[in-house]
Symmetry: C2
Subunit: 156 residues, 2 copies
């Protein structure tokens, strides 16, 4: 699998080495054990540029490793989020989906209520104002979720 790097247009093979290291270190530091299944799940997750449900991820990993069980995927995706490589998204009227941060900076979402498409966006100024708002309320901010609902260009 290949990818363009925005900054240098250099084609490189995606090894996810950095992410695997983070995952390995996390597992190790918690006194847990690494496994082939866990690595397969992580790689498939990072490789997929979609917001997946646990079950969708399970079906994808199954192609590479047919003996895998759903429970392992559910257990592993939580670990992946715990170590900071991904996070849960809870969209309305839908089950939980997961997204990873490989080659994605922090971002918010535009959600089309018509076609269901999710677009990633960032606005530095909104981010700053959120910090200010939290501070004013005496909140030690850890993060945020912003979803803007509407009708996308294609659907309107």
């Amino acid at each position: 699998m290949r990818c363009y790097h925005d900054n240098d247009y250099h084609i490189q093979i995606m090894t996810f080495q950095k992410e695997i290291d983070i995952f390995d270190y996390f597992i190790m530091s918690k006194g847990l054990k690494q496994s082939g299944q866990r690595r397969d799940i992580l790689k498939t997750f990072l490789k997929t540029e979609k917001h997946l449900t646990a079950d969708e991820l399970f079906r994808l990993v199954k192609k590479k490793n047919p003996s895998i069980g759903v429970a392992t995927v559910y257990r592993t995706i939580k670990l992946i989020c715990d170590c900071g490589l991904g996070r849960e998204l809870r969209l309305d009227n839908d089950s939980v989906r997961y997204e990873h941060f490989f080659n994605h900076d922090h971002h918010d979402h535009l959600y089309c209520t018509d076609c269901g498409e999710l677009t990633e966006v960032v606005d530095r100024e909104i981010e700053k104002l959120q910090q200010k708002l939290a501070k004013k309320a005496g909140f030690k901010m850890q993060g945020h979720r912003l979803i803007i609902h509407g009708i996308c260009r294609k659907c309107s």
Copy 2:
């Protein structure tokens, strides 16, 4: 039941007449029928200043009308949201909660990851920037959800 009005400190009886009218009109215009259960559920919902799960709402309504069934509450809370008197909230690691808009302007939430408390906040400037952001992306904005996670004053 009584309440203070922020603006005039005038004590008044809460009849929710305006909200009941909105609800009635919605029901009627969809060719549906009104019922005592639906009104009980709406009133209990509006009266409660907490973000309730459907089941919590069910338990509250049961006190007033012991013969009510859960299914009716699930069915009715959806109608209440559809007619614009409330909305769903999906917090992480928690089931769906509902909030109403009686005496509440549009707001966002600060969520304390320690004690779970939800605080309502508004920032006009953030709202404006969101509009701008949506517009720039060719989005016809309908609404948004913003939750800021962190540690509240009490917990830090």
